[in-house]
Symmetry: C2
């Protein structure tokens, strides 16, 4: 009925001491290959796997790490989780995915409770939790090592993995400029993600470099979701001089731009170019497929796990981004210019 096998049963079957089984379990040095083989065989035969609870109680490690997140883009989180899972699985660690609400004033206590209960050995934080003061304080106070994925702020005491959001946004904006766009609108990301400000800065830097003034009318608020892409686009298209291109801070919002264009019968990319950010699955699923910045989300996550497991001290690793050209971006048609030439 119950699989009753514990470490003692394994020890008996393998003909060794309990302590030796424990050593095999924890990959301690000083176990002969011979003994290890016997123990492994016994464990396999008994279908043994150690109780985390007992391990926590007796020892100092639990073999578990937490992924703490608060992100509303399912595709993005899906990739983050996969990256973490893969590495954890390789490493024999258990991953506890823990959603939180960073706007909840109680978020620190919630994380404290979770750490207390699960005794996780470390944590991976995904933006925007990476910059959530209460959470950071709690983890530091409890002395839990953690790695941050795409943090917005520097933090001398912990490792992080990230990409150059500013440069990526600059690249995309420059690309739009290079193919002829001058009125380029920008939809900001959620304000609680620090990357949002970075991307905006990159956008503005690219414009400024070529002497295009930053027009506040062409910058709209956004929250990384489809609806805010829609809302922003409605605004842009009601302007006296609407943009010829819209650069959204993620793919979800870019999809919103496409939806409005479709509804109004505006041809993309002939009449309006649309660029996204992230290169989630969504970018390939919508029509036309989005020109976007590929963010190596899964690699970011698995690298974060690497850094957490690694012995090394704190490290800040930047992963490369890539501009992905698809069909949602083309040179502007610019009927007004043609007309003025004719007149």
């Amino acid at each position: 009925m119950n699989s009753r096998s514990n470490i003692r049963d394994v020890a008996k079957l393998a003909g060794v001491a309990v302590k030796t089984v424990s050593r095999v379990l924890n990959n301690h040095p000083y176990v002969s290959a011979d003994t290890k083989a016997k123990v492994d065989a016994a464990m396999a035969e008994l279908r043994f796997s150690p109780s985390i609870a007992a391990r926590i109680l007796a020892g100092t490690k639990s073999g578990q790490i937490a992924l703490i997140y608060d992100n509303h883009s399912p595709y993005y989180m899906h990739q983050i989780m996969q990256g973490c899972w893969d590495r954890c699985h390789e490493e024999g660690m258990r991953l506890i995915a823990q959603p939180v609400d960073v706007s909840d004033p109680d978020v620190g206590e919630q994380v404290r409770g979770m750490v207390r209960q699960t005794h996780v050995d470390g944590a991976i934080l995904s933006s925007p939790v990476t910059d959530c003061g209460p959470v950071l304080n709690v983890l530091e106070a409890m002395n839990i090592p953690f790695v941050r994925i795409s943090p917005g702020t520097n933090h001398a005491l912990t490792s992080s993995v990230f990409m150059d959001d500013m440069q990526a946004a600059d690249d995309m904006t420059t690309h739009l400029i290079n193919i002829g766009h001058r009125r380029i609108a920008f939809i900001k990301g959620h304000a609680n993600h620090m990357a949002s400000a970075e991307r905006q800065a990159g956008y503005e830097r690219a414009l400024s470099r070529v002497g295009i003034s930053v027009d506040p009318e062409l910058i709209a608020e956004g929250h990384f979701d489809f609806e805010s892409g829609v809302a922003a686009t409605e605004l842009f298209l009601s302007l006296k001089y609407p943009p010829t291109a819209v650069f959204a801070s993620n793919d979800d919002m870019a999809s919103g731009v496409l939806a409005v264009a479709h509804r109004r019968g505006i041809q993309v990319p002939e009449q309006l170019s649309v660029a996204g950010f992230d290169d989630t699955t969504l970018a390939r699923v919508v029509w036309p497929p989005l020109t976007t910045v590929r963010q190596p989300v899964r690699d970011l996550a698995s690298t974060a796990a690497d850094l957490l497991f690694g012995e090394g001290g704190i490290e800040h690793r930047r992963l490369p981004h890539e501009l992905i050209s698809r069909e949602s971006v083309a040179p502007p048609y610019l009927p007004s210019l043609k007309k003025s030439k004719n007149t």
Copy 2:
């Protein structure tokens, strides 16, 4: 930092036995109000909080449940998780999300290991894990209660929540017939989801009822992902008499249909109607928005958690579906009929 106080310290300070403190902790009956007050005071003074690990080890409940899944649609899983999380949070339970690979011959052992390690009190299975023999056997052998979300097979010993996939597919097909379609193609779901067969049966039932013969050419394999929607559509459109409507077994595949239509310059819905299934976020994000069957995914998940927590015996609860009409479906244009009339 020093949460060094344990139940013994509390007992000593309160002047009672350790066991009595345990009773207070667990709200046992048979503790006098007087004693309870003393113990509460002592706990407060020592800032005591019990060790979950010890509790799990010594007791029979862990306060944790597992969500075991293997689904490749991020939007779908996102909703499932949310539903589970919400109820678990209300109930003070910890949720451990555990992805598995049902095609892995070792999947049973993996689940066994997870259960033994974490001591979960119960599990929620999401399709297709609901019909994965090895997993079911392991959970039964370990005597872990579980609830299945959208299982394909009946199972007298465990509760389940589901919707009527056959009826839903029938409804959608009938809707397409009612507005004039006769050549309706169908893209199957992943073969390892039992719901796939149900949906196909519903499609065929609706056709048969009105005397339309089921044309094997109009039924294509699919795997619940965008790409298989694309592949199926390429097939359909290369037929001598292509369909006027395509009914895909989920929204991801329906998005694939839309993509092919866009690429070939086929107007949706004027020249081709497209229907999906699930009503995930994706259905509203693509263009045109998908007519689809709303599956109450989040409710399914939270209901599953309800049944797991509930004292009640086994129960099979069906949740209602709903046909959502959006812009991807319209009456067929049928140019060939018009032509023949004219000639």
